[in-house]
Symmetry: C2
Amino acid sequence: MEDRVERIKKQLHSAGYKLTPQREATVRVLLEHEEDHLSAEDVYLLVKEKSPEIGLATVYRTLELLTELKIVDKINFGDGVSRYDLRKEGAAHFHHHLVCLECGSVAEIEEDLLEDVEAIVEREWKFKIKDHRLTFHGICHRCQQKHEEK
Amino acid sequence: MEDRVERIKKQLHSAGYKLTPQREATVRVLLEHEEDHLSAEDVYLLVKEKSPEIGLATVYRTLELLTELKIVDKINFGDGVSRYDLRKEGAAHFHHHLVCLECGSVAEIEEDLLEDVEAIVEREWKFKIKDHRLTFHGICHRCQQKHEEK
DNA sequence: TATTATAAGATAAAAATAATGATTATTATA
DNA sequence: TATAATAATCATTATTTTTATCTTATAATA
């Protein structure tokens, strides 16, 4: 945990920014909720628990900054709010998501899976891929089982 | 064009909705701009050119309805606005996008490309896939050439 | 320490979307 | 065809999310 904060601090520094207490608090919330997909509002409320004096605008600005530095990814599952997802360290590519249409759960897939597809796209469309977003919408295992029980 | 409107009309009917003049005007705008990725505002302005009496709320509701019926897909490229994209007829799956980070152009890929990946996800994660979203962010062919010229 | 730059906080503003309510149009039925 | 029931519309307002502004505070540098 501490070393990850430390590394993010360095990333900020090398881009000319500082890890202020507010920014650190925000980063820590993101680290503590790595599995979730928090909206700006979610992050704000969680940061507020520990640092009640922080402002919403600061959280927004921090998330924007972290997105710019590719420390987090801003994603949208179609529910109207942007969500922020910490990039895994050393991950060349953004991970994928499985969004359950019934219970709303969001699972992550770390494996790349797209290597072949990307090779095809780069070759056939002459498009230089920098990043990708892949989300599957469907029914998660648990919700499928619920149906079977009936 | 006419037959596509006709088919969308049938899709609406079979779901218990009607193709009102306002809805038809909206659908026609979508058909005429199939290559673009229009925001609700864009659609509204275009529909207004031909049917100036239409209201923004109607456009929003129509787009919502069309999304519900899977006639259009609501997508988000991360720029804050939802965009609406007509589903290709007979397309079992939503097409993919190539978003250029430099010029902002959005190209479409009709080919599925994900069959293998989906098979893996369904098997390994026991996730029943209903739909997917795949977007590549990168540099389009034209922008790459611009660089080479320099 | 004085000066300058950067960041924070609070609030207001903007933008996008959704909801409401009154009115009109359409469809089905008598 | 007239009437009732339903559905859709417009105009407006409200809500939600995000961004901008302005002042104050903090930190870095000369």
